[in-house]
């Protein structure tokens, strides 16, 4: 297994944290992971990307990812932006945070309303729904190798107490709801 994932979001939405949590979770399943943040300056609110590799063998390469197998879109407004599909492999998957089912024919489409899930669990900072844990749940489900127990462990390691529990609920809810 060798899967490359690219995450699209806005600076401050936690896409780097989400990518790191994805690979922490696959590591708990005895896979190897690599999280590659954007190489440069980040700006809050601007479109940014981050990426990750998941493999059943040690990952040696350090180049950036140009032809991902999976694209995860954290902001519903980015769905029809050209760059989010750029290089996506034929037969690749798109996981999108969206209320509806956008019209995408070319690729396998998976939808999760991560914004609603975040709001329901009180994950709002400065008026922004914090969707990274919900997206972690959705991506993990589509990867198909991560257990709910591993997700709980990874999220609990980052956030303790009530905040940790609310993040775990969001993660698992998205894991169940993504379709």
């Amino acid at each position: 297994m060798f899967v490359e994932i690219r995450l699209h979001g806005r600076g401050g939405q936690g896409i780097v944290t989400a990518a790191e949590m994805v690979i922490e979770a696959v590591t708990l399943q005895d896979y190897y992971g690599q999280s590659i943040p954007i190489f440069g300056a980040e700006r809050r609110g601007a479109p940014v990307t981050s990426s990750a590799r998941v493999s059943d063998r040690p990952i040696r390469r350090h180049s950036q990812i140009y032809n991902p197998d999976i694209v995860a879109i954290f902001d519903p407004l980015f769905v029809y932006r050209q760059e989010v599909m750029a290089g996506l492999k034929e037969g690749g998957s798109i996981i999108v945070n969206h209320k509806q089912r956008p019209d995408i024919q070319k690729f396998k489409l998976f939808v999760v309303d991560a914004t609603r899930i975040a709001m329901e669990n009180g994950l709002v900072v400065a008026g922004w729904a914090v969707v990274n844990t919900a997206m972690l749940g959705a991506i993990s489900k589509i990867l198909g190798i991560v257990s709910k127990e591993s997700l709980e462990k990874v999220v609990r390691k980052r956030w303790g107490g009530d905040l940790g529990e609310r993040n775990i609920r969001a993660t698992l809810q998205a894991f169940e709801e993504v379709s």
Partner: protein, 388 residues
């Protein structure tokens, strides 16, 4: 554990029980010293963190700490390293066994924070042992081995090791950490009595006198002899570490599938894994390719590499650095040891990404140039765009 290359260094320095950390922040190195400051503040690491106003002072503080018998570490990058340079030479020529992580970054102008190896290589004549790391795991392992090599009585020279900016410094990957007891067994406490310069209040002596021309060459020759012995010490440090860690380690250089190779690529740093993946891909297509990964750049293992690949028909060197008026530094240096054609490639300057396809292209290109009977006089700037 999942760690960025930067944090892998921090945890390696903690495991090595560094006693003094003096550093000044600079992108993309800052995470290393932030994590160390955090570990020290939380009491998880027993060391003194000295805040300084510049890299020049950071290295001065490290030299002073070593002179008092304390294990010292710093980290920097690019302009910070250039600014520190005077004291980098002082540490090397004064034989203070400091260790330093250098996150390799392009020197300006034009302004850049992205990857290039010219910054670290510009310090190559400073009397430091120099290494380059391939992965976050190797960054952790090297942070520990560096102190052992530096403090070995046969060496007693400082050690710096490079991490590629962003592609290694900020990429998070699997890292296995060693138990503290295991590291303690591998790396005993620094014995100040064996240091060339040790300031002992009970035994006052003066340092730093003017030395006339009648004695300077002899001082330089002592360092030359230390570097001659260092090759063996580096290999021993790697061999013993591989035993305690249960993972193979690279001392001077790594020989990847070269034994029957017809074409060998030579590279260093975080792109080395991409080169290996390219070598595997070419082998699947019937091209007998191999790779030499330079782990240690000073002392330069030219004779050993010559022994390993002296019979190989085509060698392609890949430099992510440049010495104007001379060429790619590592390619030029290796050419001095090899008798056959060495095809020199300059690639990835200023952080331009290099992929497996690039390395396949370079290896195939060198093969083709050799078949066409083209000599190795011309270096190739890989992927150079037309300037309007």
């Amino acid at each position: 554990m999942i760690l960025t290359g930067n944090h892998a260094v921090s945890y390696g320095v903690k495991a090595a029980r560094a006693e003094v950390v003096a550093a000044y922040p600079i992108t993309p190195q800052t995470q290393i010293i932030e994590k160390l400051a955090e570990l020290i503040a939380k009491g998880e690491m027993n060391a003194r963190y000295i805040r300084v106003e510049s890299e020049h002072s950071a290295m001065t503080a490290c030299i002073s700490a070593e002179a008092c018998g304390a294990r010292a570490f710093t980290a920097t990058s690019s302009h910070g390293l250039a600014y520190m340079s005077e004291m980098v030479f002082w540490a090397g020529l004064g034989r203070f066994p400091v260790t330093m992580a250098v996150v390799t970054r392009t020197l300006a102008p034009p302004w850049s924070i992205w990857n290039e190896h010219t910054d670290i290589l510009a310090q190559r004549d400073s009397g430091w042992i120099m290494m380059m790391c391939e992965s976050a795991q190797e960054a952790y392992d090297t942070a520990i081995q560096a102190f052992r090599i530096a403090e070995d009585e046969r060496v007693l020279q400082p050690v710096m090791y490079g991490l590629d900016s962003f592609s290694l410094s900020h990429t998070a990957e699997n890292v296995d950490l060693l138990d503290q007891g295991v590291v303690d067994g591998y790396l005993p406490r620094l014995d100040p009595s064996k240091l060339p310069v040790y300031i002992d209040p009970d035994r006052p002596i003066t340092f730093g006198n003017l030395l006339g021309p009648d004695r300077m060459m002899e001082f330089r020759h002592l360092i030359k002899e230390a570097f001659d012995r260092a090759e063996r010490v580096i290999d021993e440090a790697a061999a013993e570490y591989s035993k305690i860690a249960g993972r193979p380690q690279t001392g001077l250089f790594e020989n990847y599938r070269c034994s029957d190779a017809e074409v060998v690529a030579v590279a260093t740093g975080a792109s080395s894994g991409d080169v290996k993946d390219a070598v595997d891909g070419l082998r699947d297509k019937g091209v007998k390719a191999g790779m030499i990964r330079l782990k240690t750049i000073r002392p330069f293992p030219g004779e050993e590499i010559k022994e390993a690949i002296g019979g190989v028909k085509v060698v392609a060197t890949i430099d992510r650095d440049y010495s104007f008026g001379f060429g790619g530094i590592l390619g030029r240096e290796l050419s001095a040891y090899l008798s056959g054609d060495v095809f020199r490639y300059i690639a990835g300057l200023g952080g331009r990404d290099l992929t497996i396809e690039d390395f396949e292209g370079i290896i195939n290109g060198a093969l083709q140039r050799a078949e066409e009977g083209k000599g190795d006089a011309e270096e190739v700037w890989w992927g150079l765009k037309e300037v309007e």
